[in-house]
């Protein structure tokens, strides 16, 4: 193994220790987008010139509706109700970050635990958990989230929980099969023969090999969650109290932005979603290259 020795800062070293895919161009691009995205979400009140739901007026005290980008100092123009589109985009990052991170965390967490238990213990526990995964695979994802979001009070949390209830299945299956291979590795068997407890074996020999895979599935789930939340909001089942990119698109669609050629209104939220979701895909690709280098994807 030959590695070029480039002086590394502490950040890079931490990334390496976490097996974050530094060095892969795709992954680095993804990480940079994530950083920009997270900073935007955190500093939204500072960055946004207006309140996202505030109805604005021009200097002539007219309703500031349907302004084009640049007019009256509105970077991306305004909506037909006179709201600042740029501010909505900035605040939309908050909703996306919240949904993406919590859903990804829940999906990766549930999936990893189920996969670990199922793969390590096998037997009837495995059978039950994997039949449950089969059932989860039989549930149409988006319709399920719609029904749950609509019947329970429409809120971001209900959407996130509905997603996690279905999406854990993919992670669980992959983690399980990985655990199955790890379990038959010589060093795991050696640990069993030397008397290590199951807990110790899972903690010391299996989990360290699983964590990068969980992170990989987590980073894919971030994208899925943001896309799903956008769909839910677009269909009108979203959280009425939060400005999300999906909500903006629904607003635009319902306000005939399409027939009125208001591209400045519905193009930016879509681009924002693509930007953030593809960052997740870029990172996951970097991870794959790192975890499965032979495949050369």
């Amino acid at each position: 193994m030959l590695e070029t020795t480039v002086p590394e800062g502490p950040v890079i070293r931490i990334f390496r220790a976490m097996k974050l895919p530094v060095g892969d161009n795709f992954a680095m691009a993804g990480l940079i987008i994530y950083v920009i995205f997270a900073l935007t979400a955190i500093f939204a009140p500072v960055l946004a010139p207006y309140e996202p739901t505030e109805i604005l007026y021009t200097v002539d005290y007219d309703l500031a509706s349907d302004l084009l980008p640049g007019q009256e100092g509105h970077i991306l123009g305004t909506t037909s109700l006179g709201r600042d589109i740029f501010s909505q985009i900035v605040f939309g990052a908050r909703a996306a970050l919240l949904v993406g991170l919590t859903a990804a965390f829940m999906v990766a967490f549930i999936g990893t635990i189920v996969g670990l238990i199922s793969g390590y213990y096998g037997g009837w526990v495995d059978t039950i958990l994997m039949r449950l995964a089969d059932v989860a695979f039989g549930i149409p994802f988006l319709p399920f989230v719609i029904v749950i979001s609509a019947f329970l009070e429409p809120s971001i949390w209900n959407t996130v929980i509905a997603m996690a209830l279905v999406l854990w299945r993919d992670t669980a299956r992959v983690i399980r099969s990985q655990v199955l291979t790890l379990r038959s590795r010589g060093y795991v068997e050696a640990a069993r023969v030397s008397g290590s407890s199951d807990f110790k074996i899972i903690l010391r020999h299996i989990a360290p090999n699983i964590v990068p895979l969980s992170l990989l599935y987590g980073s894919i789930a971030i994208g899925w969650a943001i896309l799903t939340e956008a769909s839910i909001s677009f269909l009108g089942f979203g959280d009425p109290n939060s400005i999300s990119w999906g909500f903006m698109l629904q607003d635009a669609f319902a306000s005939q932005a399409l027939s009125r050629q208001a591209y400045h209104w519905f193009i930016p939220p879509g681009l924002a979603i693509i930007f953030v979701v593809s960052a997740g895909f870029f990172i996951s690709r970097g991870y794959e290259n790192l975890l499965f280098p032979k495949l050369g994807r």
Binding site: G186, R204, H205
Partner: protein, 327 residues
């Protein structure tokens, strides 16, 4: 005489393969990796488990260190049924019975330093931390790794296969066990370093008075390490006796073919065709009666009808109908 350290009686290890539906349809759904094996090992005895791939020799070894549990019959260690051990008794068993694995690169965690790898059994046995370093170095010296201190902070990929296999051996021996199962410990190593590992194995076995099982497909290696050999075929024992006798005068037709097939590094060796039929054993679908009969040149009617029982022939036990009258 004292009771044997290891006693195996009619042990079985059957795996279910395929689904419940295929079982209902009467398709072969059970693989009998170990199917009615009996032998016992006295303290300090070493025996070679010899056979082709799929004969169940590794499964048999795994039963004895409790990496698998018998599905029928019994396998006892120091009088206690291995699969029933619990709690304290299990912990004692884990420190008394060890395994040396086939692939040294797979048998140690690639993320761990060798010191950390070696410390795992010590921690499990509750040895105080202050003694770890000394015991690790002592174990590495035991397997004749020169200058053992230098290895403590190294990672597995920094060692050669031969060195690493010695580390694996040292880990197995660090708690001074009574019993060791060595699963083809040199088959992944280059010829020029094999001899060193084998010699170390012989030395520590004698020094510690170990009871040992040496699993191999290579009769020449078994002969070098063990005085007694058990020949397995499709989950059953064909022949069991002193290695030298088996090499000189194999009794079972299968053993005869096996001995004749072993290649030697000599120019003048027999090129006679082997006394065995072509074809390969199919563990899912073994023949009725004697499992070897479909390849056996001497098979007759009774071989298909009856499973041959093990018979004592001189110093040996043979499971073959040819010897029915002899006993």
């Amino acid at each position: 005489m004292t009771t044997p350290l290891v006693e195996v009686e009619n042990a079985q290890l059957h795996y279910r393969v395929g689904s419940a539906v295929s079982a209902m349809m009467g398709l072969p759904s059970v693989v009998k990796a170990v199917d009615g094996i009996s032998f016992s090992l006295n303290k300090g005895e070493s025996v070679g488990l010899l056979g082709e791939s799929g004969c169940g020799k590794t499964s048999m070894g795994r039963l004895l260190v409790r990496l698998e549990n018998v599905t029928g019959g019994s396998a006892r260690f120091d009088g206690a049924e291995i699969s029933q051990l619990k709690g304290r008794a299990l912990r004692t068993f884990r420190s008394r019975s060890q395994m040396i694995f086939q692939n040294p690169f797979d048998a140690v965690n690639p993320r761990y330093t060798l010191a950390k790898t070696m410390a795992e059994p010590l921690a499990n046995a509750g040895i105080p931390k202050s003694e770890w370093r000394d015991r690790i170095i002592k174990a590495l010296e035991l397997v004749r790794l020169a200058d053992p201190e230098q290895y403590l902070d190294r990672f597995p990929h920094q060692l050669s296969g031969g060195q690493l296999q010695r580390v694996v051996m040292a880990r197995a021996l660090i708690l001074e066990p009574d019993f060791v199962v060595a699963d083809e410990p040199v088959s992944m190593l280059d010829v020029s370093v094999r001899a060193g590992v084998l010699n170390v194995f012989r030395e520590v076995r004698d020094k510690l008075g170990l009871t040992a099982i040496y699993i191999s497909h290579d009769l020449a290696l078994v002969r070098y390490v063990c005085e007694r050999t058990i020949v397995m075929y499709l989950g059953r024992i064909m022949e069991d006796g002193p290695t030298e006798a088996i090499v000189r005068e194999p009794l079972h037709p299968y053993t005869q073919a096996l001995v004749a097939a072993v290649p030697t590094p000599n120019a003048d060796q027999s090129h006679e065709p082997l006394p065995i039929g072509r074809g390969a054993p199919d563990p899912r679908n073994p023949p009725s009666g004697c499992v070897f009969r479909d390849r056996c040149p001497k098979a007759f009617d009774r071989c298909a009808a009856e499973v041959p029982a093990s018979k004592k022939v001189g110093t040996r036990h043979v499971a073959c109908h040819l010897f029915d009258e002899a006993g």
